[in-house]
Symmetry: C2
Subunit: 198 residues, 2 copies
DNA sequence: GTATGTATACTAACCAGTGAATATACACAA
DNA sequence: TTGTGTATATTCACTGGTTAGTATACATAC
């Protein structure tokens, strides 16, 4: 691990991020990534042992910032948990309306690599989603929700569903619809702590 | 449109269906499809003007059977609408546990072609989902649901979300979780026909 | 003998990965 | 201070294979 090579590696990952996310990993060649990073393919292969390795690095670089953004949207919203979760969807809708938006990089990669179930990139994507699921689960548990894991998974289904649907229809309003559904599911559980039929 | 060429074209679409769905459309070459169909690439290009054209035909062929299956699962289930919709998710979970299952062909194609928004195949996928959404909307409308379109979209978000999540985690139980969420959303709307806060 | 349909053989481009050489930096000995 | 070795970092040029699409010719039917 030399000190000076870190920026180079970082630049390659940035270039890979821009190209893989916007064009798809099978559509983009290693040469294109190298060109975008301003160096030769051979140099790229000095820092990454294969294209698959580069793809994994591309997704690994998206993990942290992505989660941080969700937590920020949640925490900066006033009010209770239902509204805070709904705010995540509202913010997502806003970002999905940007012309360069192309859905969720993790989900798109898992769709592209559906024939390679154990691929490192898919594992990184799965771990990413699990982290978010677990954060939601903990949040709901603090609210005294009876089955916080189930509720967390339902919210994630709506979240990932909205990525898929909005990418297909190019209609970001589905994200707001998903947010309303999330609010309904959370409120339903919060309102019946003991007895049935509120 | 000659009479005798129909079976050939059909055989090509079948081969494309098997390969594109299982391996992904960018991974599979036209030569492979032709070989699987038992003919040469040149013959394939006699029936389809380009690979994009073939991809569109592959998805068009999935449209009808797919919708028919959903309607069958719905209609063969006893009880009310919430249980009938939940049954769709249960049946989907069962099919998702088969080893050859690779998610939703329409969504995976839209993920692979995310950089080509107007692609014919994406339009076919969008139309397919809209048909299902509209069928659900009509079904909910018959039940006197106040905003049947919104509810139909929420169910579709759960449906497509479960495709994406199960493909990523390879855990079909998410589909049953989605089914429960769908039931909750439908029952919530059916139970409050007039006033707020039950 | 003309429409339809199929096959052989080809083009031109692309693509993941590598061999061999080179440049740079820095440690340490003279 | 200068010379030398070594690990790091980068480039050029290449290979072997793949790919979408085509030019041309041949077959078959009616």
């Amino acid at each position: 691990m030399s000190r000076s090579s870190e920026p180079t590696r970082e630049r390659i990952v940035q270039a890979a991020n821009a190209l893989f996310y916007s064009e798809g990993i099978r559509r983009v060649s290693v040469d294109e990534v190298a060109a975008k990073a301003g160096l030769t393919k051979r140099t790229l292969y000095y820092h990454f042992k294969s294209k698959d390795d580069l793809v994994a690095a591309y997704l690994a670089a998206r993990d942290q910032p992505n989660l941080a953004l969700f937590r920020k949207w949640f925490s900066e919203t006033e009010g209770g948990v239902p509204g805070k979760v709904e705010a995540i969807f509202k913010n997502l809708a806003r970002s999905a309306r940007h012309p360069k938006w192309k859905g969720c990089g993790f989900l798109r990669t898992s769709a592209e690599l559906a024939n390679m179930p154990g691929h490192p990139a898919i594992r990184i994507g799965a771990a990413h989603k699990k982290k978010f699921e677990d954060w939601l689960r903990a949040t709901f548990a603090e609210q005294g929700v009876k089955d916080p894991l189930k509720l967390a998974r339902q919210i994630l289904l709506l979240l990932d569903g909205s990525f898929a649907v909005v990418l297909l229809h190019r209609d970001a309003s589905y994200m707001e619809t998903a947010g309303e559904a999330a609010r309904t599911l959370i409120e339903t559980v919060l309102r019946k702590p003991r007895h049935r039929r509120g």
